[in-house]
């Protein structure tokens, strides 16, 4: 897991930040390599925004070190600002300005970078460039926010929940956009609580909970760490006939069994052997099956396995 420091464009060591009684970030280490898209994945309140805003120089850490592009915030703040692109989780751009006016304003703050029209074309808002920001859809507003992050031609891009609250189509558009930046060789640090987003976009992912990194690796590695490719979830039994869960541990191809409020979740290496064996076991115990679902393991399952909770409580 630890990498040579020289390779990292962003190096965070033992970062701590507390708000009165809440510890938002609790001794966090991170290394983001040049050119990669790194994801911070975690539930609400995990400390993602606090971490990313400390890296952006917007929030003061209580202790710990941040080194970005070989510089530090206390000595090179201005130089860093020229070279970073930032999109904040909750900014509302001025509704009375047009798209073009907004991008030109942000462009004027940076020494170098592409022209406003070029950036607008990049996020595909040409048709809206004369429209007021107040009249844009959620996805268009988010693309405008990203345009404002790109006007300085940044080497390092911070995206804090770029797709939260968007419909699936708008999310996919944004993903395409982010993928194109990756191809252009930028380093990206993004936060999200969508595991499909992290799996699709991120080269590496850190899963955060309660201000700590609890798992780190490529999405593939993390899923493989479960040691099981599939998940089987079922409910069985009814009044009077309880299922003997402990008997399931011995079923062929099953690695881990969890039972919670009447439903059982099993990690499984080989689906084609585990499912018939499960059905046979249920038949032996004479418990009727009421529901059965299987899916390939995801980052969500990694999170559930590590914390016993779901990423999003829906």
């Amino acid at each position: 897991m630890p990498e040579p420091a020289a390779q990292a464009t962003l190096r965070v060591r033992n970062l701590r930040k507390a708000y009165r009684d809440v510890v938002a970030v609790d001794g966090l280490d991170l290394d983001v390599r040049r050119g990669e898209c790194f994801g911070l994945l975690g539930p609400n309140g995990a400390g993602k925004t606090t971490t990313i805003e400390i890296c952006e120089g917007l929030t003061e850490a209580d202790s710990g070190e941040v080194e970005l592009l070989g510089m530090r915030w206390d000595t090179h703040a201005h130089e860093l600002r020229e070279r970073l692109g930032i999109q904040l989780q909750e900014t509302q751009l001025s509704e009375k300005l047009t798209v073009m006016e907004t991008v030109r304003l942000f462009r004027s703050f940076f020494r170098c970078g592409p022209g406003a029209a070029e950036v607008i074309a990049l996020v595909q808002l040409e048709e809206k460039q004369r429209s007021r920001v107040g009249g844009l859809s959620g996805g268009q507003k988010q693309r405008l926010a990203i345009a404002c992050a790109l006007v300085g031609d940044p080497e390092f891009l911070f995206l804090d929940e770029p797709t939260t609250g968007l419909d699936p189509q708008a999310r996919r558009q944004l993903w395409e956009l982010i993928e194109r930046f990756k191809l252009a060789g930028r380093t990206i640090l993004l936060t999200t609580h969508y595991m499909d987003e992290a799996e699709r976009l991120c080269d590496r992912v850190a899963i955060m909970d309660h201000g700590k990194v609890i798992a780190l690796g490529t999405p593939r590695e993390l899923i493989a760490s479960l040691g099981a490719e599939h998940l089987v979830e079922f409910s069985a039994g009814g009044a009077g006939r309880a299922l003997d869960v402990s008997a399931l541990d011995g079923v062929d191809g099953v690695r881990d069994v969890r039972a919670a409020n009447g439903s059982v979740s099993m990690q499984v290496t080989e689906l084609h052997r585990a499912v018939p064996a499960l059905l046979a076991e249920l038949a032996r115990q004479q418990v009727p099956l009421t529901e059965l679902r299987t899916h390939s393991a995801t980052l969500e399952d990694v999170f559930v396995t590590l914390t016993g909770r779901h990423l999003r409580d829906e």
Binding site: E56, G57, L58, H78, R81, E82, L84, I86, L88, E90, T91, Q92, L93, S94, K96, L97, E101, R104, L105, F106, R107, S108, F109, F110, R111, C112, G113, P114, G115, E118, V119, A121, L122, Q124, L125, E126, E127, C148, L150, G152, D153, Q169, Q173, E176, R180, F181, L183, A184, G185, R186
Partner: protein, 365 residues
């Protein structure tokens, strides 16, 4: 959606990248920030109304309500043509000739204050109600007219000098007061709402995340305020001068300098008020708490001298009092800037103190 097709190539970094901003002055951050302030203001019709139209309406309304009436002309009735002619020599009487019966009727219904009829032996008889002041005045004026027409000359010559010059009327007192009030309101509201709204929307935090120099952000508010000031002062003064003939005895350059100084110190006050607040409610409460006392005691609508001597030093130290006193002295008495040094010093002190404090306290996130 039309924008899902045709994906442009990513060529930002390689081809076009690292290019300095073109476009010259227009792309200077201070120019862009000031333009934004301007656009946000102009695209808010309510703000336009309160800043430009409302003060003019107020001046018009109060100017008409408290205008000086022309001297009263009293209507009287004369029964013969000779009497009507000799009474007609008096400017303050409006003489009509009536038949006897019609004159009696007009007197009884109050249409005329007095009726004059010929008496025996060339005498004149005045009929009027002596409990009515108009009647008594008409009696004196009519008698004087008749006697003069008969050849009397005044034993003591006297002449009148009338006090009705521009500069001493209520509208003349009011316009500088409204001007001062407007300078304060537009600066404090303009700064306060815009800054707190941007902070609430995390827009200030977003700006601070760019290389924008922070003082440009604050300067853009001052610059746009000064530009709008020209229009604002022009509209109100233009209205006062053209419609009511309000005098401008002092130098116009001095007047503009006073407006700029006043506006800047109110801006500093507005900046201070907006330096911490995170919600519009908190900010508007603070703004009202700051402005309301000054509207009352600083002499916008009536002289600040009416308050007890004990509180006069406090009232005099308020920025709105200083601004209005200085504007009035310039416009009505033609005082020079040098004569207004005390007021200018008060405004300058507010400017420096508030601005310094605001910079220290300002919440950039």
């Amino acid at each position: 959606m039309s924008d899902t097709t045709a994906v442009p190539e990513v060529r930002v970094r390689e081809a076009a990248g690292r290019r300095p901003a073109g476009g010259g002055m227009a792309d200077h951050p201070l120019v862009q920030l000031t333009l934004v302030r301007f656009r946000e203001f102009v695209r808010e019709p309510e703000a336009l109304f309160w800043v430009f139209i409302f003060p003019v309406l107020l001046a018009a309304g109060l100017g008409v309500a408290f205008r000086n009436r022309p001297p009263e002309v009293l209507k009287i009735a004369a029964v013969t043509a000779e009497l009507a002619q000799s009474l007609g020599g008096e400017k303050l009487l409006d003489v009509r000739q009536f038949s006897y019966a019609a004159a009696e009727e007009a007197l009884r219904t109050g249409k005329v204050a007095l009726m004059a009829e010929p008496g025996p032996g060339g005498a004149v008889v005045y009929r009027y109600d002596d409990t009515n002041p108009e009647g008594r005045t008409a009696r004196m004026l009519a008698d004087r007219a008749v006697e003069r027409a008969a050849g009397r000359s005044d034993p003591v010559p006297a002449s009148d000098r009338l006090m009705r010059e521009a500069g001493s009327r209520y509208i003349d007192f009011l316009v500088p007061g409204l001007l001062g009030m407007n300078l304060m309101g537009s600066a404090i509201w303009g700064m306060g709402f815009a800054i707190v709204d941007a902070r609430r929307k995390k827009l200030i935090k977003r700006m601070v995340a760019t290389p924008m120099p922070r003082h440009y952000y604050l300067l853009s508010f001052l610059l746009s305020r000064l530009l709008l000031l020209v229009v604002e002062v022009g509209v109100l003064l233009g209205f006062g001068v053209l419609v009511f003939g309000v005098p401008l005895h002092g130098s116009l350059v001095d007047l503009m300098a006073l407006c700029v100084l006043g506006s800047l110190s109110f801006c500093a006050l507005g900046l201070l008020v907006a330096s911490r607040a995170r919600t519009i409610e908190a900010a508007s409460g603070l703004m009202n708490a700051v402005m309301l006392p000054m509207w009352i005691v600083s002499g916008v609508f009536f002289s600040a001298q009416r308050f007890p001597d004990l509180v006069q030093p406090v009232i005099k130290a308020l920025p709105l009092t200083a601004a209005i006193d200085a504007l009035r002295a310039n416009m009505l008495q033609g005082s020079s800037l040098a004569q207004l040094a005390p007021q200018a010093a008060i405004l300058g002190a507010w400017l420096v103190v508030c601005f310094t404090l605001a910079l220290k306290l300002f919440r950039w996130r």
